[in-house]
Structure formats: C-alpha cells, structure tokens
Symmetry: C2
Subunit: 205 residues, 2 copies
C-alpha cells in the first residue's frame, strides 16, 4: 500500500521530469537546455522523456502550462475573495507583489515566455484573471476611489509593469542607482515608493 501502484508511479515519474525540466528551463531558457541535462537531473533516460512528452518543444509547453495555470488559478482565487473598497484594492496589489517576490522562478519563466517568438494560443486563465482585475478597477471607478478619466486596461497594464519589471530587472537597477542588493527590505522599500506613485503620482499634492 505504501508502494505507489503502476499508474501513480508513472505519473510521479512524469512530475519528476516536469520538475527537473522546469528548474533547468527557468535557469537557462529553452535553447540552452538539453534533453540530456533534464534526463540527468530527473534520473531517467532521454528516451523516457520522449516517450512521455514527444518532443522538447512539447515538454517546454507543458512546463509553462503547468506553472502558469497554477499561478493564474491562485491569483484568481485570491482576487475572487477580495473585498470592496480602497483598502482591499490596495491589498490586492500588495498581494501580487509578494506572490511574485516569493516565486522568482515564475518571473523568469514569464521573461523567457515573453521573448519567445512562437505565438502559441494560450488557455483562457490569464484572460479570466485580467477581466477580474478590470472589474476590480471598474468597481473602484464607480465607487469613486479610482479616477474615471483613465482606461482601466492601461491602468492594469501599468500596474503589471511596476510589479513584474521590478523583479525582472532589480538586480541590474540596484547596480545602477547604487543600492546594495542584499538590503534586507529592498523589495519593501520599492513597494512603498511604487505604491505612492501608483496611487498619488510624483507631483506634490
């Protein structure tokens, strides 16, 4: 009973391959990752990977789909149970920030994905999540705590820019502007300043 039976053994092997592949893909990207490396890391043979996933491209797709689906589901779930009002609005933003802070692999995966020229039709997860986000902004506009002379879509995109790009490029920016990267509360400092800009702007009030 403790021993996994046939099917679960197979699916756990599949997962092991997916895990190993994700680690290496995230680190080195698609092209610089070889099936041999993945096989070695997953402790299986190359042939087995082909048996389960068909090709390197399909493996890459499955790795991305798995992680993206998990991520978008989590975000949708958290956004769904969000309350109304300016404070909740603010909390949603802070929440996304910390989710990404705790999942740097996710950030790199998105980066690789953005550079991918292959225009793959993705599932509707992100579409749904985005529409929930748009609804949240619209709600804020109707309730009066979000200014109405702005396109909610661009507002959402601007917010994504402020969050994603920080985690994508902070290791470079801290060198430019002279912040020590291992400052314990570096992310929080950025978050505070970024929130000031996002909510109130850089002009004095």
């Amino acid at each position: 009973m403790d021993q996994p039976e046939k099917h679960s053994a197979a699916s756990s092997t599949r997962d092991a391959i997916l895990d190993a592949a994700e680690n290496i893909f995230v680190e080195r990207g698609f092209s610089d990752t070889s099936m041999s490396k993945i096989a070695g890391a997953a402790r299986v043979t190359k042939s087995l990977i082909h048996h389960h996933f068909g090709s390197k491209e399909q493996l890459w797709m499955e790795v991305k789909n798995r992680r993206f689906h998990e991520y978008f589901s989590l975000q949708k779930e958290q956004l769904a149970k969000a309350d109304t009002g300016i404070e909740s609005f603010r909390s949603c933003i802070i929440n996304l920030f910390y989710v990404l802070k705790n999942n740097p692999e996710m950030v790199r995966l998105i980066s690789w994905h953005l550079l991918d020229r292959a225009q793959t039709e993705r599932h509707g997860d992100e579409k749904e999540l985005t529409e929930m986000g748009l609804a949240k902004v619209l709600e804020g506009q109707q309730l009066g705590y979000v200014r109405k002379d702005m396109d909610p879509r661009f507002m959402l995109i601007s917010f994504f820019c402020l969050v994603f790009h920080w985690f994508m490029a902070k290791h470079e920016y801290v060198k430019w502007v002279g912040i020590s990267e291992d400052s314990t509360n570096l992310d929080d400092e950025y978050l505070n300043n970024m929130l000031k800009i996002f909510f109130q702007g850089v002009l004095p009030r």
Copy 2:
C-alpha cells in the same frame, strides 16, 4: 577613392559581422544563435568571425557593448541639453518612451541581457546616465514640482518599469485585455495613461 582601403575594408567587414550577429542575437538570443547562421547572414566564413572576435561569447559581448554604448550616449546627450522645469521633466520622459518605441531591437537586447546569469562588469555609461536622471529628479524636488517624500532612486526605477516593460510585454498584454495590437496609436494611448499615473496617480484629485 571610392573603394575603402585595407583597414576600412576590414573594419567594415567587422561591422557587417556585428550587424548580422546583432540581428540574429536580438531575434533568437545567445544560445539559439549559431556561428554558421551569423556567418551566412554576414556573407563571410565562420573562421573569419573567430579571427575577428575570438569566440561566440566575445562576439555577444561586443554586440551588446556597441548597442548599449550608442544607446546610453544618445540618452546622455539628450538629457544633458534638457531644460529645467516640469515641462522639460515631462519631455525627457516622453523622449525615452519614443526612443524605445523606435528601437525594438534595443528592448529585446535588454531583455536577453537581463536573463543572462553571467554577471559581467559593464562600463560606466549607464551609471553616468542614471546619475544624470537622479539629478533631474532631485532638481525637481528642490524646485518643488516633484514631491519630496519619495526616494529618487525608486522613482527612477518605477519610471523605467513603466517604459521598458510596456515594450517588452505589450504584445502579450493587448491579448489579455482585448486591445487590437495594430491600433495605430496604441503606444500613445498607453503613454497618456501611464503619464497620468506617473504624475498624478490613480486616486482622484
């Protein structure tokens, strides 16, 4: 006289290789680019590339250095002759936006560079440019048109996020929020909304 002499012929060959390499590197990244492809595109032999640049890595470095140096010099030049005042401050921002809009290769090059784990010590161009930017913000704070309760460094970074990430990811975001990508003034629409946020924030005034 019309014919380039020996040295300029060599340097023009070098440039041809750099140009070809940049095109392919920008499109496919370092790992997915082969010396053969570059050689073919530059109409030279692989051996000649090794003769001029030594290795693929060094060629990659030179490609990045050339473009980055050109970019940062241009930005420094334009920032140096910028005037004082809120309007000039605004112009600098709009200026950077359009420079990147007109240089999508630069955006991709930065993206690949950000994913690169190789921590190469880069030249001081970007450091100088950043300090000029910081000075501009400080100036605004002293003259009173930039709020003082904010760290200029994080303000600069936030601004970079709003510009760079838009060009890195807009092809994905427009799919999410349902904007047609070939809208003639898509970039301008984003710019207007982004500027509203950056200067005044999303809260009603």
